[in-house]
């Protein structure tokens, strides 16, 4: 408790259609993020990475329900938390860096208004004070001419700039945990590296714990100390990055490594995750679903 900021234990989430329980979206997910660390959450598209992020924040789609398990964030139980209590935590203790910085910003409001909202709301700051803080934050994320940027609308900034703005905003209230859901997927390759570097720089300066969601094991290997590998809503491997990189326990992680592009290898050396590994995991997933169907 003392040095963990996030503890997810045996989390199950299911797709609900009417009264019927559909297939599992998350199956027995457990993971822990310690104070000030960057934890990588890796998996293929559709594995359920965003669902974990959304479950923590309480913004799951209406059709998806948490059926079991707990999410403890800074000593508070996030599952079933009342909206009014959740609102006090979101933005102040936990914040989000979203995947697509264009759509995540409101097209009809100036950057300044959007950046200052969170500080005025949680810290009770005046417009002027929040404005000054926003300027300082923009300087921190290396945006020049910050005063002008605050007056612009999102579509007037480049993708990289928008993501810098969102990173700055995520740190505004000095949260204990930041969830970064594929923060670079929507960006150019050259910009991706800069943004990742910036993220680590900000994390070092503020000592914030970050749950870094990505499908790129290479990124996790560079950025994180610990990681969880997810497939079909199940955590298939978990531990220290140094251990897993040198000797992955699970065939899926090995295959994922083989499928990770590396600059020192030609592109045709990439290999997809083998079918039998995936089939083995699908069977395991089906077993989970059957067990839960029997329970309910």
């Amino acid at each position: 408790m003392s040095n963990t900021v996030l503890t997810i234990a045996n989390l199950h989430a299911e797709l609900r259609a009417g009264r019927k329980t559909g297939p599992g979206i998350l199956r027995n997910v457990s993971l822990t993020v310690h104070q000030g660390e960057m934890h990588g959450l890796v998996g293929e598209s559709g594995a359920g990475k965003s669902m974990i992020a959304r479950a923590i924040l309480g913004i799951l789609p209406r059709s998806i329900l948490i059926s079991d398990g707990s999410i403890d964030c800074l000593g508070r139980q996030m599952v079933g938390l009342a909206d009014s209590d959740r609102r006090k935590i979101l933005g102040r203790d936990i914040s989000l860096i979203p995947q697509d910085p264009l759509t995540a910003l409101n097209p009809a409001r100036r950057i300044g208004a959007q950046m200052t909202d969170v500080m005025r709301l949680h810290l009770g700051w005046s417009r002027a004070r929040a404005h000054d803080a926003a300027l300082a934050l923009l300087n921190e994320v290396h945006i020049r001419d910050a005063e002008a940027v605050l007056r612009r609308y999102p579509h007037e900034l480049s993708g990289g700039m928008r993501q810098r703005v969102l990173i700055a905003t995520a740190f505004a209230c000095e949260p204990k945990l930041i969830i970064a859901d594929e923060p670079t997927t929507a960006l150019d390759v050259t910009v991706q590296k800069q943004i990742l570097r910036l993220l680590r720089e900000m994390q070092n300066r503020h000592g914030t714990a970050i749950l870094l969601v990505t499908h790129d094991l290479g990124v996790v290997a560079k950025m994180c100390r610990s990681l969880s590998v997810i497939h079909s809503g199940m955590i298939v491997e978990q531990g220290e990055v140094s251990d897993i990189v040198t000797r992955p326990e699970h065939a899926f992680t090995r295959a994922l490594f083989a499928a990770t592009p590396r600059y020192d290898r030609p592109a045709d050396a990439l290999s997809p995750v083998p079918g039998e590994v995936v089939r083995e995991l699908e069977e395991k997933a089906a077993t989970f679903d059957r067990a839960r169907a029997g329970l309910s």
């Binding site: 933005g91 914040s95 759509t103 910003l105 009809a108 909202d117 709301l121 005063e147 007056r151 609308y153």
Partner: protein, 292 residues
């Protein structure tokens, strides 16, 4: 200082686009002229619009033989100055257009926001209400309402608001249902903003251009409704000059004096045309900003 320049360039961009649309320019000019007439009525038309002079009855406009100097558009059957009555009538027309328009827009928009954003019971109730409302013929509803409320400007305004809020409600509801699925709404939730704050501070700015367009069209409708109700004698007493009232009076002397009815009719037509042009022009220029 770079930043005010930046802001200036932004608004200059929008201004240039608005000025580049002839409908906005023509419609806006008509609205501006009308506003000047309404505000400066007693300066522009020095003759008292109520002053009767039976010796001067049914005088023709200035460019026709037998006109009296100073009476630009002639006089009506009671010898009152038509130009002065037109100018003072624009006060009523504009007041009704603005007040009824804004009130209608506010009521309809708020209900549309609530229905579209909260869904569920609120949406069912509001949507059902809209369905029932729109199944009544509006002109009939207006006449019944004013008959119940009694004549007068406030009844005219109430009637317009009560009848036309559904125009705004429908469009706004549909738009909000689209907007609330956008990523930026999720972002607002994750910084801890409440639902009301999200609705009014995040979503409303995105549908405001749409509301402005509808409001412009609504002002045109309000002018017509006021004219119709004045025409049938359900608006203001005949003391106050209104375009609808002038049309009704002019109709009785149309064979002797065409000008008494024609000028107010022309004012109504031009005004409504102006509001419609402005609305269409704004729709074309503001929509790209809305959708980016």
């Amino acid at each position: 200082m770079a930043e005010p320049a930046q802001q200036h360039r932004l608004s200059a961009g929008l201004a240039r686009r608005l000025m580049g649309d002839w409908r906005v320019v023509v419609g806006g000019s008509i609205f501006a002229v009308l506003a000047i007439l309404a505000i400066g009525a007693s300066l522009i038309a020095a003759i008292d619009p109520l002053e009767q002079d039976l010796l001067l009855e049914l005088l023709p406009p200035a460019w026709v033989d037998g006109a009296e100097p100073g009476m630009l558009l002639g006089t009506d059957s009671l010898g009152r100055d038509v130009f002065s009555r037109l100018v003072h009538g624009s006060r009523i027309a504009l007041a009704v257009a603005v007040v009824a328009g804004v009130l209608t827009a506010t009521l309809g928009t708020v209900l549309g926001l609530v229905a579209g954003y909260f869904g569920g019971l609120a949406d069912s109730v509001i949507s059902r209400l809209v369905d029932i409302w729109t199944s009544f013929p509006p002109v009939l509803l207006a006449i019944i309402l004013v008959a119940l409320l009694g004549t007068g400007l406030h009844s005219v305004i109430i009637a317009i608001v009560v009848i036309d809020w559904t125009r705004f409600c429908r469009v706004v509801r549909a738009e909000v249902m689209q907007q609330r699925r956008m990523d930026y709404v999720d972002s607002a939730v994750t910084i801890g903003l409440g639902r009301i704050a999200i609705l009014f501070r995040e979503i409303l700015p995105n549908i405001l251009p749409l509301v402005i367009v509808l409001l412009t069209l609504e002002m045109g409708i309000a002018v017509i409704v006021e004219a119709i109700l004045s025409f049938v004698g359900l608006s203001l007493s005949s003391d106050t000059p209104t375009w609808g009232g002038m049309i009704a009076e002019g109709r009785q002397v149309i064979h002797q004096a065409w000008w008494v009815m024609s000028f107010p009719l022309l004012m109504v037509v031009v005004t409504v045309l102006g509001f419609n042009l402005l609305g269409d022009g704004l729709r074309a220029t503001l929509d790209p900003t809305l959708r980016r």
